[in-house]
């Protein structure tokens, strides 16, 4: 890798990291797992003057039980998300989506928080975060603030994290007993989604009590398929009802539009079954 020159800083607390961000100015960047930032540096598409490496911030790792929600540290790696029991039991969709990210090497380094902050429209964790009504906790010079996923993703590679701020944790409400599935279409294993659909469904007595559906890579950011969700609620958990609801998914152009419907149908079918 032959990047442009940068200063490399290793804070040991979030407060120190925030201070460093302020001192280094707006051309400084946080580096987490580096799995998106390093390629950018390598190709010299960006030349930050300073990299603030937050991989030493132990306060940002791990998954904690916070009553009716989970608190996931921004530095929790994909690998850790895949293996965490709390996530498995209460936010299964997140685990299933994470399973499809890249390859084991990338998953050992890449982080949940980094994926969300990078906000690649083809990133696989955005739609699940949106569908599950995750709340992002952001630290800045003025303390901490909370931003719901619906406001966090601000467009193409854009989020609510302002210069000088750090995403510290993600609060995900618990979805115990919900069925979930992430249906991804990509061309080769390490390629990004052409389209993917994140679905979580709560079935009670054969009826769909609640449904969450998010679409990956059909717009500048993740898209919540609210029409699909509302078409499902109160319906029997049958193939017909799912097929009917899936028709309401859409994604603009011909092929992707088709994929949105087909993959929504498949994601819901699997979520209801599992």
């Amino acid at each position: 890798m032959i990047p442009a020159e940068f200063k490399y800083l290793c804070p040991s607390t979030v407060d120190e990291a925030v201070r460093m961000l302020a001192e280094e100015g707006e051309d400084a960047k946080i580096i987490a797992g580096g799995q998106s930032l390093v390629p950018v540096l390598r190709m010299r598409l960006a030349a930050p003057t300073a990299l603030i490496d937050i991989s030493g911030l132990t306060e940002l790792t791990g998954v904690h039980d916070a009553g009716d929600s989970l608190l996931i540290g921004a530095m929790t790696t994909h690998y850790e998300v895949q293996r965490d029991h709390l996530i498995h039991d209460h936010a299964l969709l997140l685990k299933l989506a994470t399973d499809t990210v890249a390859d084991p090497q990338v998953r050992h380094r890449g982080t949940f928080g980094g994926s969300l902050c990078h906000a690649d429209p083809a990133g696989d964790l955005l739609a699940p975060a949106l569908a599950l009504d995750a709340v992002m906790i952001i630290a800045g010079p003025d303390g901490r603030r909370e931003v719901p996923a619906s406001e966090f993703f601000a467009g193409y590679f854009e989020t609510a994290v302002a210069p000088g701020e750090i995403l510290t944790d993600v609060r995900v409400p618990k979805y115990p007993g919900w069925g979930a599935h992430y249906e991804k279409l990509n061309r080769v294993a390490q390629a990004w989604s052409i389209v993917a659909v994140a679905a979580a469904v709560q079935v009670r007595g054969g009826t769909i009590a609640a449904a969450r559906v998010g679409l990956t890579n059909v717009g500048a950011g993740p898209v919540r398929a609210v029409d699909v969700e509302s078409a499902l609620v109160g319906q029997p958990a049958t193939a017909e009802a799912i097929a009917e609801a899936a028709l309401r998914a859409s994604a603009g152009d011909g092929y992707k539009d088709n994929l949105a419907r087909v993959l929504t149908g498949r994601a819901l079918t699997a979520a209801v079954a599992g």
Partner: protein, 807 residues
């Protein structure tokens, strides 16, 4: 010295090379650090076609650590023109090919300036400070449009057409006239196929180090062709050949992509000379993808004449082949290598091949695994399927009707090649059995009847290829500038250990292992006692290097001959030592003995006696070394039958390979493990052409697939578990009976996959789908739309290049 009892040839030996390669305990070019070494970075044109108005290097020159900034103009007097060794016709148009553009750039990625600095970072930093003023010219990208000469890549040539090369069986006397056959045919099929542009994608990016000290230019390069490189660099510059030493250390793959004399090798050499200090250049992956040569890129118009019973009577091939902006080392000859293979394993009465090479404003094309033969195999195997569909016949039956029968070998084909041996029946029977052909056909029927969302297809590819490049007289007749022989030396060391020197230049194939096995058998020495030296023009002074599945059949044969020479001399000396007649000396398992007695001397004893030279027969020179050079009489012709079953998801267009059977006949197998490895890798690359890989340019000529996030090289996760096995019909044209296996998998697999996908969806009205068969293309074809849909995908390395790639 202990003799090896069990023959080495045929043993699945683990590779000698693997431990050092896998652990990285070896020397790659980029690992080389020399005292006082400088680093070169290359500024590349962002535009595909432009006059260079001005280059301002003043800012870059003033940057810290920068030793020198140079433009093409600075090198104009010494850089010459990069060599093209294959002028396929007397009137071929060959534009000057400067290593660094002087006044005009002709493809995006072409070198326009270079920086020499004290480290690679500063060299790269300075690139951004060079200001180039371009006057853009109209861009010629589309092959079919380029032949119209509306806009010209090289206005001085007056045309974009580089050369037209023809083979006609009526003119050659090898068959009848194809136009007559077409006129008289009961069935005539005409199809056009596109061979998309591919990028060789070797694992180790290119790297060069040039050390100009000690009155000698020592060049380390990640190349397949150290010997040719040395020759060509001296022919291109004013540096004499004996003042150049080229070393190809361990090289991480090539696939034809490093069968090249590159601009950067030349620039690094000239820069080192100018600085009087060592200079290193190592490319980034993106740089590699936008400047190292590409492969394929042809439009194939195929006309096939047949009788209603399925007998093919004539084949006409009209090609347009994209050369890109310049002719590199063997660019013009690549499509011509296919000329002898379109008739494949079949007996056609008439054959005509016409290829027009065309310039465009794209990266030059040149050798890529298979080189001309995958294109030929694809076209004919697709056509055999088309004919089967047209006539409502089983596609395997129609092949069988037309192929050369086992008892007909040796067989001289309509393209003028003499196939020495083959057994298509045996390979096919084995493949059909392993595949479960009948059961799959039944399942296919069921799925069709059910209207299942996932349809099943079966694809066949019965292929042959010509390997063992090449008889020198044939190369001469094809106007190729070099010969096709290979050389080997054996040096017996006083302790009985063996040094083998080969003119081949392995870059991942495992020659050290295989050459050791051959020598171990021949000389009766342990496998471990053989060291193979290669890739250094100082130790291996002559050779024609590695490409075209030639190393074993040509270089291995030279090695056998060298071993035989060692034995002949050793036998003489053994007779002298044992005081018997040479005719009474027997040699077995590394030991000479006198027939009918217990008197014996090991080869080691004899070698030591030769070395100390205390008592040699009259006139015998001390030492026990031998050199041999082998020039083959003929090519070798591996063949095989590949069967592929794919499942096509008609709702998404996604193709999944369900099973893949490859039965290859590569003659005698020296090391089955290595042969399997070559087949597996070859299959992956051929399947990649069918389903995944494609170099895409936007309308300005910018390569949009210049990272591995956009250019989709499959991994093990994307491929099925291959079922591979072999039949063995030894080649009769070399003493080992070997045929070559480096390219077989790549050549055979592409049509097997495409035939299989089409077989899955043909009943839904799809007639053809352009490669690669991306899910979007398959889906679009199923909607009745154009089969060559190509919409840029968002995502890719999303963050980086949202334009690249293909859904």
């Amino acid at each position: 010295m202990t003799a090896t009892a069990e023959p080495e040839v045929g043993k699945p030996r683990l590779r000698k090379e693997d431990a050092r390669l896998i652990t990285g305990q070896t020397r790659w070019t980029d690992n080389i650090q020399l005292t006082g070494m400088l680093h070169m970075a290359v500024l590349r044109s962002p535009v595909a076609h432009a006059r260079i108005r001005n280059i301002d290097c003043s800012r870059a020159t003033a940057m810290p650590g920068v030793a020198l900034v140079l433009t093409g103009e600075d090198f104009a007097a010494e850089q010459g023109s990069l060599p093209c060794a294959w002028p396929i016709t007397a009137d071929m148009k060959s534009p000057p090919a400067p290593a660094m553009a002087v006044d005009q750039v002709n493809f995006a990625g072409e070198a326009v300036a270079l920086v020499i600095a004290d480290n690679a970072y500063r060299a790269a930093d300075a690139l951004a400070a060079i200001d180039v003023d371009y006057d853009e010219l109209p861009v010629v990208l589309d092959l079919a449009e380029a032949v119209d000469d509306h806009d010209l890549v090289h206005p001085d040539l007056g045309t974009n057409k580089c050369a037209t090369w023809v083979y006609d069986s009526a003119e050659a006397g090898s068959g009848t006239n194809v136009e007559d056959e077409i006129a008289n045919a009961e069935v005539v099929l005409e199809r056009t196929f596109r061979q998309q542009r591919l990028i060789p994608s070797f694992m180790e990016p290119r790297s060069v180090v040039v050390d100009p000290s000690a009155d000698m230019f020592t060049i380390w390069s990640a190349t397949q062709i150290p010997h040719i490189l040395r020759w060509m660099l001296s022919a291109t510059t004013d540096i004499a050949e004996h003042k150049i030493r080229v070393i190809a250390p361990d090289v991480g793959g090539g696939f034809g992509g490093k069968l090249q004399v590159t601009p950067e090798e030349l620039l690094c050499l000239l820069a080192a000379r100018r600085m009087g200090r060592p200079v290193k250049w190592t490319e980034t992956r993106t740089e590699s993808m936008m400047s190292a040569h590409h492969g394929r890129d042809q439009i194939q118009k195929i006309t096939l004449a047949a009788r209603r019973d399925g007998t093919v009577t004539g084949l006409k091939v009209e090609l347009l082949a994209d050369m890109g902006a310049y002719l590199r080392l063997v660019s013009p000859g690549i499509p011509i290598l296919g000329a002898f293979m379109y008739n494949a394993i079949y007996k056609f009465a008439a054959y005509r091949f016409v290829c027009t090479n065309v310039f465009t404003n794209k990266v030059p094309t040149d050798a890529y695994r298979g080189a001309g033969r995958p294109e030929a195999t694809f076209a004919i195997e697709r056509m055999m399927d088309e004919l089967a569909v047209e006539l409502g016949m089983d596609p395997m039956k129609i092949r069988e009707m037309n192929w050369i029968k086992h008892e007909e070998f040796p067989f001289t084909t309509v393209a003028g090649m003499t196939y020495d041996s083959g057994n298509y029946e045996a390979a096919t029977a084995r493949a059909m059995e392993l595949f479960g052909y009948e059961e799959l056909r039944e399942e296919q029927e069921r799925r069709r009847a059910d209207g299942s969302a996932v349809q099943l297809g079966i694809g066949i590819s019965t292929y042959t290829e010509m390997c063992g490049l090449a008889p020198s007289r044939v190369l001469g007749a094809l106007r190729y500038a070099a010969g096709g022989w290979e050389t080997a030396s054996i040096r017996m060391l006083p302790t009985g250990k063996v040094e083998v020197i080969t003119g081949t230049s392995p870059h991942g194939q495992g020659h050290e292992t295989v050459w050791s096995q051959i020598v171990a058998d021949r000389l009766g020495v342990p496998f471990e006692d053989v060291e193979v030296l290669h890739g250094d023009t100082a130790s291996s002074h002559k050779g024609m290097d590695s490409y075209g599945s030639r190393s074993l059949s040509v270089g291995g044969t030279a090695l056998v001959h060298a071993a035989d020479k060692v034995l002949a001399k050793a036998r003489k000396l053994a007779a002298h030592m044992m005081e018997c007649d040479e005719a009474d000396v027997e040699f077995a398992s590394g030991s000479f003995s006198v027939r009918g007695t217990s008197t014996a001397r090991t080869l080691g004893d004899v070698v030591l006696a030769a070395h100390v030279a205390h008592d040699l027969p009259e006139g015998m020179e001390p030492g026990m070394d031998a050199d041999a050079t082998f020039d083959p009489d003929n090519f070798s012709f591996p063949h095989g039958t590949h069967l592929c079953a794919t499942e096509v998801d008609t709702e998404t267009g996604m193709v999944k390979i369900r099973s893949y059977v490859a039965v290859d006949d590569v003659g005698t197998v020296v090391n089955p493990l290595i042969v399997d490895g070559q087949v597996h890798g070859g299959l992956a690359q051929g399947i990649a052409q069918a389903l995944f890989e494609e170099a895409i340019h936007d309308e300005t000529g910018t390569l949009t697939t210049a990272t591995f996030a956009d250019y989709l090289v499959p991994s093990a996760a994307d491929l099925p578990s291959f079922i591979t096995t072999r039949t063995s019909t030894p080649a009769t044209t070399n003493p080992l009976g070997v045929k070559g296996v480096g390219e077989a998998g790549t050549i055979a697999s592409t049509p097997a996959v495409v035939n299989s996908v089409l077989d899955a969806v043909r009943h839904l009205g799809v007639r053809d789908i352009e490669m690669p068969l991306s899910p979007e293309r398959v889906w679009t074809a199923l909607q009745g739309g154009s089969a060559d849909a190509s919409t840029p995908a968002a995502g890719g390395l999303g963050s980086i290049d949202s334009q690249g790639g293909q859904q």
